[in-house]
Assembly symmetry: none
DNA sequence: CTCTTACATGAATCAAGGA
DNA sequence: TTCCTTGATTCATGTAAGA
């Protein structure tokens, strides 16, 4: 995956800073192809009509800030087109983007992502464990938001830490629906009056999963709608670099103080489970060269139905078939492919042992 | 809500029939403003590249039917524009529409709905309890599909049976995420060869919730992509009228036979019973993501003999052993297994607290 | 008959690296 | 660039087969 970074480009980047100004202008001032991941939580274009009151008559503090007002779908689409194009330009070829939204804006963002050539990898549902109820009982409780994860192009080698996410999910594949509480309690930032500092502060747990799953330590993560800096805070904890862009000075101030207090986790804690794919490749022939298996020795298939003989060049022979451990296994099984490492076993002290164990021994020596 | 029906218009409608032909043409032949609800499950425009095999080498039976092939986003958008416009015309002023899709097409459908003046009421996530895994470990398990519920216009008096859905949900408001298994077992229709009759048959439970929640008995429900007729079958059970449109004769035949066998529920049978769900599984990783435990923090064994450090992906590390809370505990104790939830403790205010307490906190939030 | 084990399968944009 | 080789990868159900 894309762990190497063009150091020259990174040196010019304003890392771990919060840049003031309009995100489109600021992104256009940054070097092309320089960012590993973009996380974007743009204005939702909520079309609220009038105030909303709870059954006890208290007023719901709605998102009615001026930055969330768009006069029409056309103006929202123009805005979306422009910031996504700016984001796309600064993304590395193997970089990726996450956007988050609700039904008010996410369909327009998703369509524009596709129109610009981004390649959707998953849509992810943030299922809120404690959503605000629908007080009037006129619709379903709006209990989720939608994230879209996309690579810059079809076929790009995006970063995906499969094993780390699997570990986060108690050993089974991470699914596209994530149950995470909304941000409140001690995590929710308040201003000097005790009011919430930002109306749509995202939970750190959400960013934790995004960053652990789709970046590597040292990667550069840019958030063009930084707000009170959840992306920066979690990036810092997890040993990633961040760039924030935020128009409102009040939010920048809150974010700056917040991030200054964050400590990076120690190195050991940041290591995550990796897949076998990341391990160095060991040719089967090495097992023969090293004398772990002798030429002429017989190997037995995992199902006990087949056997084959090891040859001095690290190929196998069974009946009339010669070839690699994978080729011979696939042929004998009549399968399109076969992982010879787990298919073939040798005998030691009467027991059958997979040859993969010998490969693991060699890899252990390399560490 | 709109329980009164213009009887004259309905008399002209081909009720409880499956109409053959292209759905756009057929809808254009129906009278304007005559349908209460449209449920549409259009082609998803999956852009599949090569074959996919499971780890056991069996081939995945992909959706590669001709009706799901579009040459470009532009041609898919044209198709979407036309069928939605035709659907809009035949909808009553207080009618509503449901569409279902995946990330391949749902963003384009959602944007087009908004462009045509439909008013989105909710987006609903169908969370599959048993989705197909991601066999190559390259992305998240695609474990959901998205539905959009929209009225014909802003301010329309759509039908919403709040209390019925609330009782379907054990007395609390129905949320926008619905957990429903995929359609298989006895419900899945097979052809004479035992193969599935339609590649994308939807579960009746999904339609049941849609129809109970957003129509009244006697309402007319039209499905322009009828397939094997799940919409018609559930509509008939629930005492609603249906109109199906389907291009493929084979599907029409299967649907016709299926619906003929359905009997309308009597009133008593319409009373729904819900079963208690098992306790939700909480992965240990959630405690880390939510900041209840910090990566790098130390955990202590219940007997005080061992300790381990928490990592960012929700695994533990002790000496050289890495793994889940259960694996590391079992290894340290030399035991075949270990319940990590009760074995490991963290320190708060000098006291040792079992990590299971944190799990209980999360479960309490979910209730 | 029950209980256990094996097998089948579902709307899927599902590989990486060296020659 | 293409071609070829290596080799990594699955969860929940329902049904059939076997004991």
């Amino acid at each position: 995956m894309n762990t190497t970074k063009p150091r020259a480009a990174q040196a010019a980047l304003p890392l771990n800073q919060i840049l003031a100004g309009d995100c489109i202008e600021v992104m256009n001032s940054l070097p092309e192809g320089s960012v590993d991941l973009i996380f974007a939580d743009p204005p939702y274009n909520l079309q609220l009509r009038g105030d909303l009151h709870r059954p006890d008559n208290s007023k719901v503090d709605a998102v009615d800030d001026h930055w969330d007002q768009f006069s029409s779908f056309a103006s929202y689409d123009k805005f979306t087109h422009e910031w996504l194009a700016a984001a796309r330009r600064i993304l590395k070829p193997n970089g990726a983007i996450w956007v988050i939204g609700s039904y008010h804006n996410v369909f327009r963002m998703g369509a524009e992502l596709q129109n610009q050539g981004f390649w959707i990898l998953n849509d992810v549902v943030w299922r809120k464990s404690n959503p605000m109820p629908n007080f009037r009982g006129k619709r379903l409780t709006n209990a989720h938001e939608t994230l879209i994860w996309a690579s810059k192009n079809e076929g790009a080698k995006y970063t995906f830490n499969y094993e780390a996410l699997k570990s986060l999910n108690e050993g089974v594949q991470m699914r596209s629906d994530w149950v995470i509480p909304i941000c409140n309690g001690g995590e929710r930032l308040k201003d000097e009056n005790g009011d919430k500092a930002h109306p749509t502060q995202k939970p750190e747990a959400l960013l934790h999963r995004v960053i652990v799953g789709t970046t590597n330590p040292g990667d550069v993560i840019l958030d063009p709608f930084f707000g009170t800096g959840t992306t920066g805070a979690v990036a810092k904890m997890l040993g990633r670099e961040f760039i924030g862009i935020e128009r409102e000075e009040a939010y920048r101030e809150v974010a700056k103080k917040r991030i200054a207090k964050i400590r990076k986790f120690d190195k050991e804690a940041l290591e995550v489970s990796t897949s076998k794919r990341a391990e160095p490749r060991i040719p089967f022939g090495q097992l023969v060269e090293r004398g772990m298996l002798r030429p002429g020795e017989e190997l037995y298939s995992i199902n006990g139905r087949n056997k084959a003989k090891v040859r001095a060049d690290g190929t196998l022979i069974a009946n009339d078939v010669k070839g690699s451990i994978h080729q011979v296994g696939a042929h004998l099984e009549g399968a399109p492919s076969c992982n010879g490492w787990t298919y073939w076993h040798f005998k030691r002290e009467g027991k059958q042992v997979p040859i993969d164990l010998l490969r693991q021994q060699i890899r252990a020596e390399l560490h």
